[in-house]
């Protein structure tokens, strides 16, 4: 680990907010009142919440110290499969935080906010161009929200055809949000097992697809990082029985400029702007999950929709077949601004390069590590590769132990225990913004951890060593939940 970046720390203690402060301190400049005190009925009033009183210094120091306990993409690499943790450009932050956008109230008349409407309109068009689809709504506030929008489009479509369908085909590699979103629309997920090559088996789909089935939810490339080669045939089978194909676009980073999703037979799909389109993860959000459809389904998209009549941008609400409103306003707007800036910065050629380099990076790691970690499918992968802890089991070292030890070298661990079809899965997605040197250092670190697993398993069992806390007791947290102070 001599060259590994994470070997020392500047870790300050910092108590909880209510363990600090003094009554009467104040951290915000509140204007004096310039109007008379109005009459106020007693019975209306409450005592106000029990919040600590803190000075600006207290608050700033508090959050500064908290931030120093965190790892971020700006700190180092997150090889998280399925998450596409690429670099978050700073110019995007500048524009998302622009005052002119900050003060735009979403209920203003269209004529007053042509700028903010134009941003939505352009983003809609660019996302359609990138995916090959025809119409887009940027209202959904997250990938799962986009999936829900997609399922609602399915339901609206089938209703328009006079038949409510009750089932949906669900690959066993699907992300958990897929069945959860389907269930919200009353669809029972029918599992499809992936075949020995890690991709969907056409024969099984032909057998299971019927006129009770609304369609299929596919991720392509799938969560094993493998391209679903038979997708067109699968789409034909589904369409033949009147069903629709949903594309989970979480892995879009593997296919920009290479694959046309409409040609694949996808009817409805969502994108994750916080993955492929570089918007920051924010410690869990906000993200954005635009939903894209083919022409014939455009009328079902959420409302209102931004239209352009040649001179003016407008919010169109008169859309009788729309699935309705998904968000109080236009989704996570500032996230949309960042994504637009990213697309304008990259352009077509660089987005395609991003895809090419992302796949290049993953294939490189796959080749370099396959003799050290068990490779789940020894086949060409795309932007992510799935390994497992099979070879470490004899030393009683699990995927979790490997992950915790990797942290000690300054790397966020890869995605672990997903997809479920691989026992002890370790899914590595470097993304295109990691350089060759970074990959080589990462590979060396993984090899060293694998070696440590053989000669000193307890070192891994007691990892991580170098952070503010050691391994945390998640069992206690679940048995005796303490969810507030």
């Amino acid at each position: 680990m001599k060259n590994a970046p994470g070997r020392s720390g500047l870790i300050m203690e910092e108590p909880l907010l209510w363990e600090k402060g003094k009554v009467g301190r104040n951290g915000m400049s509140i204007p004096d009142s310039d109007v008379p005190a109005a009459h106020l009925a007693e019975e209306l009033c409450g005592p106000g919440p029990d919040f600590p009183d803190l000075s600006e210094v207290d608050v700033v120091r508090h959050y500064t110290r908290l931030s120093q306990w965190n790892f971020g993409v700006d700190t180092g690499m997150y090889p998280l499969g399925s998450c596409t943790m690429k670099y978050n450009p700073k110019i995007n932050e500048k524009h998302a935080a622009a005052e002119e956008i900050g003060v735009a109230h979403p209920m203003l008349e269209d004529e007053y906010c042509q700028g903010t409407l134009r941003i939505i309109y352009e983003l809609q068009n660019y996302l359609a161009a990138i995916t090959g689809m025809d119409a887009v709504s940027v209202q959904p506030a997250a990938g799962a929200h986009g999936e829900l929008a997609g399922m609602l489009v399915f339901a609206a479509y089938h209703e328009s055809k006079g038949k409510k369908r009750t089932k949906i085909l669900m690959p066993d590699t699907a992300h958990g949000t897929n069945p959860a979103s389907a269930a919200l629309c009353g669809y029972k997920p029918i599992p499809i097992k992936s075949g020995p090559r890690g991709i969907l088996d056409v024969a099984q789909i032909r057998e299971l697809m019927d006129e009770e089935t609304a369609g299929i939810m596919i991720t392509n490339p799938n969560t094993l990082g493998l391209f679903e080669e038979n997708i067109r045939e699968i789409a034909e089978i589904v369409h033949e029985k009147g069903g629709l194909v949903y594309g989970d676009g979480a892995n879009m980073n593997a296919i920009m400029g290479i694959v046309d999703l409409k040609k694949c037979g996808v009817d409805v799909m969502h994108l994750n702007l916080h993955k492929t389109f570089s918007t920051p993860h924010g410690g869990g959000g906000p993200g954005a999950g635009p939903v894209c459809v083919v022409d014939s389904l455009a009328k079902f998209l959420p409302s209102p929709k931004v239209e352009f009549d040649g001179s003016q941008y407008r919010l169109e609400s008169d859309r009788p077949e729309s699935v309705g409103r998904m968000h109080a306003f236009h989704g996570n707007y500032a996230v949309l601004v960042r994504a637009l800036c990213y697309i304008l910065t990259m352009g077509a050629e660089n987005l395609k390069k991003a895809t090419q380099y992302a796949v290049l990076n993953a294939c490189y790691i796959k080749v370099k590590l396959k003799n050290h970690l068990h490779l789940a499918y020894d086949r060409p992968c795309m932007h992510e590769a799935v390994f497992s802890d099979k070879r470490q089991q004899e030393f009683k070292v699990s995927t979790l132990d490997i992950a915790k030890r990797l942290m000690d070298s300054g790397y966020h661990p890869p995605t672990i225990y997903f997809p479920l079809v691989v026992h002890g899965a370790i899914m590595i997605e470097p993304t295109e913004t990691e350089s060759l040197e970074e990959l080589d250092t990462f590979i060396e670190v993984v090899k060293e951890v694998v070696h440590e697993a053989e000669i000193d398993p307890d070192l891994l069992h007691n990892s991580p060593q170098r952070f503010k806390v050691k391994r945390l007791d998640e069992t206690q947290a679940a048995r005796n939940p303490c969810l507030r102070g």
Partner: protein, 132 residues
């Protein structure tokens, strides 16, 4: 995770394919989960139990076991009506990990006490585990 030869598989109880056990207690039947089941789950943090008076057919879901990272459905090995649930599990779900056969989850009045014969005995359950 334990090896097969480390697992407890007592005689005197019957086992289902889903790793529940059923034991006669007078004219009632007590139901719990096997040592294999609790070992696979890891530390159990919560047990969702049915209510007294609920009725189930064999194979119906009657509750769930939750660990930190997983949820496992519980299926009735035989049909009947719930007459008691083990209240101590509400505060101490870890008892199932500590004593899977002493710690019953529910007690039912079976529709037909003969149904227990349809379940696996000690040998048949061991065979099932070896095949896993």
């Amino acid at each position: 995770m334990k090896e097969i030869d480390e697992l407890k598989i007592p005689e005197g109880v019957r086992y289902s394919n889903d790793h529940e056990w059923a034991k006669v207690a007078g004219d009632k039947v007590r139901i719990g989960v096997s040592d294999y089941a609790q070992d696979q789950m890891g530390d159990i943090v919560f047990v969702e139990m049915p209510e007294i008076g609920d009725t189930f057919a064999a194979g119906d879901e009657f509750g769930t076991l939750e660990s930190v990272k997983a949820v496992s459905e519980l299926y009735a090995p035989v049909g009947g009506e719930v007459v008691a649930v083990n209240e101590t599990l509400a505060d101490s779900p870890e008892l199932i990990n500590q004593d899977p056969y002493g710690c019953w989850i529910m007690e039912i009045k079976p529709d037909n006490i003969e149904d227990l014969q349809n379940l696996l005995d000690h040998e048949a359950y061991l065979e099932l585990l070896q095949g896993q």
